[in-house]
Structure formats: structure tokens, C-alpha cells
Amino acid sequence: MSRILELSASELVSKIRTQEITAEEYVNKCYERIKKVEDKIHAFITLTENIALEKAQEIDSRIRKNENVGLLSGVVVAIKDNICINDVRTTCASKMLENFISPYDATVIERLKSQDAILIGKTNMDEFAMGTSTEHSQFGPTHNPHDLDRVPGGSSGGSAASVAALETTISLGSDTGGSVRCPASFCGIVGMKPTYGLISRYGLIAYANSLEQISPIARNVADLALLTECIAGRDSKDSTSIDSGTQNLKNCLVDDVSGVKIGVPEELFGMGTDEVVSKAVWEAIFKLEGLGATFSKIKLESLEYALASYYIIAMSEASSNLARYDGLRYGLRLNDESYDWSTAYSRNRGVGFGAEVKRRIMLGTFALSAGYYNEYYLKAQRVRTLIRQELSKAFKDFDLIIGPTMPILPFKLGEKLLDPLEMYMCDVDTVIANLAGIPAISVPCSSSQGLPIGVQMMAPALREDVLIKVAFSLEQHLKPDLELKV
């Protein structure tokens, strides 16, 4: 396999700037790789070859003329298909938006374009970001590059698989309840959900506004940090976005964890956590201790209710966010001249949405309805406050909270489709950070029979610097034994 595909983003940028390789050459190599492996991986829904080659040629031309180029010049980025690119098909892996061409660029896309990143295509996902395995895509599942019979995780499965399979340098996904950290863990790469508000959601097709963030995915921590810095920061089009303050993530790429205080909640190693996963994560904790960090076991009782709280809030917000899909202005419209409005609307949505999406809309509508709102939605929000408070208190004594990203190893395709609850339970460790709005990163720490295991770290709001520093350190010292099957 060509070594050019394994280059990190920073190596790539410097080689392209010095013209050791051209952006066009690199992009062509990526598309060659895509053509070779896509029938086994299925990470992409749409490829944007024309845009990509045009951009690559433009970058090469500006470099030849000695002009300035951006921080990501020549770096190839795959974009989850719920992030809008102007004039490009954006489907959310749903029949409802199968032919929807976005009329505008998401803010993160504008920022990537301004840093000369090359957009290679739109990646596969669970429909409307609802899922943990990418099996709920209406265009077929994505396969884990480390074991083609297994899931890559979800909902950003395509974004993670394409990075792991060397189809792209880096990618963007979205993380509402773990949808970037889960596939990063299952695919043996790094993924980080930023502090709520750090990365603009303008252009992210909404599932649950109070929980989700566009999130970076990369093969190494340095690339992740670079990508984050290029897209983070206040956006006037997203009222929930904030500035990063004095974060300078490049400076955190140092192998020094001395004095870092780590809290290990026993709730993250509860019933349902595989022994091999537990063992692997504890090895990572002991490694960090050996490098100068300290750890203590702690009890965070409110975490027992995190999953229930998350699903009620997420489904409620989803029922509201997906009400717009009426077939009037965009999206699927069946030819229903003969039906009354109410019937036509229902039929259209019945056909356009998949089973899991319909399930969540119905449950969310129920949870918000009169007579049930107080019992479910309001109660879930109160629990959410308790979780935030308990974590806040813990962060007074600790810099980081650590645990597994996923309680289990990557499972086989079809294994968890019989009972939706079985799939929901996989999110038990990841939803916490979304509820609390805090940043969380997944780093590969080990493997079991070739299947990747990730360790998750959470930090207080706007302390991505701590996550990057400790993640970088772990990366230098833990080299999981992983092999691509493509």
C-alpha cells in the first residue's frame, strides 16, 4: 500500500507546500484507494470528485505562484452526510432527503474551504444520526475495516471507517450521544466531541440541538487538534456557539502527564462492560500512572440515570426537529394530489423515514405531550442538571474523568437489531458528555483478537487542552495491535 496514504495531515501540508508531492496527486491516490475498497467498506454515500480535483489543482497552482495557502492545504476531508455542502447532495442517509441538494455551506465547511481543505465526499451514517452502528442507513451499512463482518460503530460510521481505511486523511462527524467517539473506538482511531458550542452547528442537520456537536475524527491526535482549531470558534449564525478563549491545542502535543489527576467512576465499569474492555482501559490508566499522573476511584451516582435522561431528551428534540420534513419545500414528495393534507403529510413521512427514525419521533412526541411532559421530559432535564452538577463537583478534584468509550467490542452486523434497547445500551458511557456539554475524546488503547478498544476521557468545559495533552501521551505509549482487512 502506498505510504502516501498514511501521511498525517501536518506531514501532508508540508510536503505539498514544498511541492514534494502535489495535492492533485494525493487526491487521485485517495480516489484510487476509495475505488479499491469501497465495495467492501461502503463508507461513502456521495463522492465529490469534481470539486475535489478542482480544489487540488487550484491549490497546486497557487503554490507554484508562491502564494499563501491555508493550514489544511491539500488535506483531504470526508464529511458526514448530515453536514451541508452547497450544491452537493446531502441525504442524512434517508429516503426523505435522498435528492436534497443543499443551497448553502455549513459554517464548518466555509472554514474548511478557507483553509484549503479538499472535500472528498459525504459519508454514510445512521439515518438522521439516530443509531450506534450505521446499520440504520437507508443506503446500506458500513463495514468495520478491521473486521468486515462487524459494525464500524455509529452514527458517524462512514466518517470513521473512511479514515481508518485510508480513504481520506481526516473527517468530520457529529456526536449527539457518542456518534463520533463510538465509531472512533470501534475503528481504532481518535475522535473527539468538543465542548458544547465550540464548533458551530449551522449547517448540521439537526437531530437534538441541545446535545449535538460537529466533531473531528483523525488517525492521530495531532491531526485532530489541527482540524479542531481550523473549525472552532464563535459563529454569529449559531447563537449557541462560543469562543475557545485561550486554547492553543498545538502546544498541547507534548508527552507530559505529570501531576494530572484522574477520576475513575465505578459506574463506567458497570454490569454490561466486557472484561477485556475493562482490563484494557485499566491498563491505560496504570500506564498514565506510570507516566506521572495520579488516579482515584470515585462514585458518581447520577450516572446511573444518564442513559434514560439522554434518550428522553434526544427523542423529544428529534420529534421537534424532524417536524419540518413535510415534503412542501424540499425532500421527498409523493404524488398525493388526491389526499387531504393530513393524510398526505403522514404518508409522505411514513415512506420517507426509516423504522428507527419513526420510533424516535413517536416516543419523543409522547414524552412531550400534555399529561406526560412533566413525568418524562421535565424529569429528564432535571436529572440532566444533577449529572452536570455531580460532574462539576468531581472536576474540582480531578482534571480528567476516564473510562471505556464503549462497554463492548465491535459487534457483528445484525447482532443488535432485534431489540432497540440493546443498541441504546451501548451508549451508556458516551451520553454523559453530551448531557453535561463537556468535551470527551476516544483514543485507541488496545485490541482483543484484532478488534479495537478505545479509552474515553472527559474534561471540564473548554478544557480540550487537557484531553489533547493526555491523549497525545497515551498515543506515544500505547500501540494497539491492529490490522486493516482491506
Partner: protein
């Protein structure tokens, strides 16, 4: 003898502020001057509810409506 009951009446007033002086819409920067324009001309991804768009609250609307409220001296 018949007992008499005193009836108490509670009257609620729902008061709306119609902010006709605003130049742009409540949640986006499209012009709010619709009167002479054909349909669907002062539109953008936000007010069309296009997937991925987000509303941004009109600051002047909040300021104007608030000052209207304060001008009714509410007794406690």
C-alpha cells in the same frame, strides 16, 4: 333562607406587541417589508426551515418589546 355567594371575576389580558418598525424578520436577516413584494422573495435557508439552518433572535425586537412592557407600569 337562601345562601348568597360572592362571585369573583378574574380577567386575563393577552397583550401582543406588533413590531412593525423592524427592518428584518424575527429570526433571520431577511427583510420584513413584505407588503409590496411577490411571495417567496424575502426568504433564506433560516426562515424556509431548510435542514441545518438555525434561528438567530432579532436583538431590536427584544429591546423594543421589552421597553413596551416596561412602559406599562405593572403594579406588584
Amino acid at each position: 333562607m337562601m345562601a348568597t355567594t360572592e362571585l369573583k371575576v378574574k380577567i386575563g389580558l393577552e397583550v401582543h406587541c406588533q413590531l412593525t418598525n423592524l427592518k428584518s424578520k424575527l429570526f433571520c436577516s431577511c427583510s420584513s417589508d413584505y407588503r409590496q413584494s411577490p411571495p417567496n422573495t424575502h426568504v433564506c435557508p433560516v426562515c424556509m426551515g431548510t435542514p441545518g439552518s438555525l434561528p438567530v433572535l432579532n436583538r431590536k425586537a427584544v429591546e423594543d418589546a421589552s421597553s413596551d412592557c416596561f412602559s406599562f407600569e405593572y403594579a406588584d
